[in-house]
């Protein structure tokens, strides 16, 4: 709870500051856009956080987004496979990717960083080869399917509607929260992230749990890739989803995941994703911030966030020690 408080405070702070400096920030249109973007990035960030909780890392998220993002329109438009088969293939590919990462890491004992770095290169390369570097788009078709990303559920009694990706995020997040906190598997992941040996000695098949984490991450990356391309309408193999893994990991870290494993809350991660999207939005909306320093601002905020977090922790520890001593 306390961990979330910090990042939530940061989000509120950024929102308030932006709202003060731009009267356009709180328009329905903008809020809706922000929610949609946060939802898209939130989904892949949740995937990343599962892997991070097991003290792994997944650098291939962006490339999976690229692969699925290009393949979906390719299958639908070029190959005319039809929606059900295409979706099935998307699920199958994401699953296969996650599974192979998990197997290489557990059974071959390769380091997650190395395996997923290869994945990063591999999937983008394969996509480029497969679609011959051509942009893949829906060509104004498949609008029902695209409603998944673009539509919204009207809130009865108001003019406002909840963007569909947000609903999807909500479902994903709730499932993830239940999984992580209320099922044995989530508990196993938390335990093995901190101390794999101890968890194994407790009779838990840790390999299976690690594989599961990578499968979840692969599936959510795939889902993300699908929603991204449905939202944008087309994807270029060479840069679609580029660097998204870093955004996802950064969101997870901002949201309280430790890269040392065993720690993290789903709500924090989603808020972390929101912080980054709101930041980008603020930079565009506030006139006096030049947009080309966008990266610098995001970097500075993440750094500031973790530094303050660390300082607060130290301060709290010191105060606790003092309090104990005075007992």
């Amino acid at each position: 709870m306390k961990k979330i408080l910090g990042i939530f405070g940061l989000l509120v702070f950024i929102c308030v500051m932006t709202a003060l400096m731009s009267d356009r920030f709180l328009t329905e249109f903008n809020v809706e856009n922000l929610i949609r973007r946060t939802a898209l990035f939130g989904i892949i960030s949740i995937g990343a956080s599962f892997v991070i909780i097991t003290s792994g890392i997944d650098l291939s998220i962006g490339s999976v987004v690229c692969l699925i993002g290009c393949l979906l329109p390719w299958m639908l438009v070029e190959k005319e496979l039809g929606v059900p088969l295409s979706l099935l293939l998307v699920v199958g590919i994401s699953l296969a990717i996650g599974l192979s990462h998990g197997l290489l890491i557990t059974k071959m004992k390769l380091q997650p960083f190395v395996v997923t770095l290869c994945g990063l290169l591999l999937y983008r390369g394969i996509t480029r080869g497969l679609v011959q570097d051509q942009t893949q788009g829906f060509k104004s078709g498949f609008s029902t399917l695209r409603e998944l990303s673009q539509g919204q559920m009207p809130l009865p009694g108001t003019e406002f509607g909840i963007p569909n990706p947000c609903l999807i995020l909500l479902v994903v997040a709730i499932l993830a929260i239940i999984f992580l906190n209320f099922t044995i598997y989530g508990r196993y992941m938390l335990a093995l992230g901190r101390n794999e040996e101890a968890t194994r000695y407790s009779g838990i098949n840790t390999d299976r749990m690690i594989i599961l984490a990578y499968v979840i991450c692969g599936m959510l990356s795939g889902l993300g890739g699908m929603l991204f391309v449905l939202d944008v309408g087309s994807a270029q193999p060479v840069d679609f989803g580029s660097f998204y893994e870093l955004y996802a990991i950064a969101a997870a870290v901002l949201g309280g995941c430790s890269l040392r494993g065993g720690e993290g809350t789903i709500i924090g991660v989603v808020i972390g994703a929101a912080v980054m999207q709101v930041l980008k939005n603020s930079i565009t909306l506030i006139d006096w911030i030049p947009t080309n320093i966008e990266y610098a601002v995001i970097g500075a905020v993440i750094l500031g966030g973790v530094v303050v977090d660390e300082l607060v922790k130290r301060f709290a520890a010191k105060r606790r020690a003092m309090a104990q001593a005075n007992q």
Binding site: S22, D23, R24, F25, T27, E28, F29, N30, E32, N33, R37, Q132, D133, Q134, T135, G137, F138, K139, S140, E147, Q150, G151, Q152, P154, E159, F160, G161, F228, D231, V232, G233, S234, A235, Q236, P237, V238, D239, F240, S242, F243, K280, N281, T284, L285, D287, T291, N292, E294, Y295
Partner: protein, 332 residues
């Protein structure tokens, strides 16, 4: 599905912007990436903004198409009166562009989206410009020979058309922008032998490596064509290194300083330049006028909605003059 939010945006626009022709119009100019080319356009935008008393915001997406979408949405959020976009993937961005057109005056520049509800297109035809470049190639290499093409990416529409124009022109084919020769395939026709098209994904070190590798692979190369602004300088570097400067004909595109210097020195035969400064200037002028309630016809836009800003061929004879003008525009 967007009708609800639509209502709110337009109402907000009028509320905040005042809408009337008296206030300073606010204009957004969205590019398709970050490049020096666009910095020149930005200078044009700025100049126009002071000429016609408007506020302009230039946004360059660094992360491709989803970034561009975000920027357009954010501009709409800000309630700008007009937006000029260089769509990265026009064919698939119709919806987004139409949405933008609903809430603001929308024009396209540099690359067109004819299917979307844009009011007009400012720019040139990349295919035609490609053909102009092809003409330079033919002039530089009257006997034909072995030719390699260098380009940043091929998935962009303008890049594809530009390259196709070059190929079609030197091979003397008819005008057909929809033709597409696969990038890896060699083309041998008559006196010409096009060995391939090398892409570098904007990685300059890779771009230079491509030029070097092409020379390794084909030691008897007679000509190199660089179709993105940074390609010709990289080709020159590679040639210098291989001691082939002057022995291999170089034809460029756009106006990198090194390219212009090369033309002066004779190591580059010529280049085709667009006029990004005018793209920016005209876009802003037009949008500001539209925001003040003038019609397209008032502003001198032809009926077909195509404001042609022709490309020019720069050779040794006109390079000095062009360069001076460029420097003046950039305020150097």
């Amino acid at each position: 599905t967007k009708s609800q939010s639509g209502g709110s945006v337009s109402s907000n626009t009028t509320a905040a912007g005042g809408g009337g022709s008296s206030a300073k119009p606010r204009v957004g100019y969205v590019t398709n990436g970050v490049a020096s080319f666009w910095v020149i356009a930005e200078a044009g935008c700025k100049q126009a903004a002071s000429e016609v008393d408007a506020n302009v915001e230039v946004l360059m997406p660094a992360e491709g198409i989803s970034d561009q979408k975000r920027m357009i949405e954010d501009l709409l959020t800000k309630g700008v009166d007009g937006i000029a976009v260089s769509p990265i993937d026009p064919e698939n961005q119709t919806e987004l562009l139409n949405k933008a057109a609903k809430y603001a005056k929308l024009i396209t520049h540099d690359s067109d989206a004819p299917d979307a509800n844009r009011l007009c297109y400012i720019g040139m035809d990349n295919y035609t410009a490609g053909r102009m470049c092809g003409k330079l190639v033919a002039e530089a290499m009257p006997d034909g020979g072995k030719l390699a093409i260098f380009i940043g990416r091929l998935e962009q529409d303008n890049a594809r058309r530009r390259r196709q124009g070059v190929i079609d022109e030197i091979l003397g084919r008819s005008e057909d922008p929809s033709r597409f020769d696969p990038p890896d395939a060699e083309i041998k026709e008559g006196k010409w032998h096009i060995v391939g098209t090398y892409t570098d994904q904007f990685d300059r070190a890779q771009g230079k490596a491509n030029a070097e590798d092409a020379m390794s692979r084909h030691p008897d190369l007679n000509g190199m064509v660089g179709l993105f602004a940074y390609n010709p300088p990289l080709m020159l570097e590679a040639l210098k290194q291989g001691n082939k400067l002057g022995k291999v004909k170089v034809i460029g595109f756009d106006e990198a300083d090194e390219t212009l210097q090369g033309i002066k020195d004779g190591s580059v035969y010529g280049t085709v330049v667009q006029n990004p400064f005018e793209y920016g200037r005209q876009s802003v002028t037009l949008l500001a006028g539209l925001a003040r309630g003038k019609s397209l016809a008032d502003l001198g836009v032809p009926a077909d909605g195509f404001v042609n800003i022709p490309a020019r061929q720069i050779r040794k004879d006109n390079v000095e003059e062009f360069w001076a003008e460029l420097k003046k525009n950039l305020g150097e």
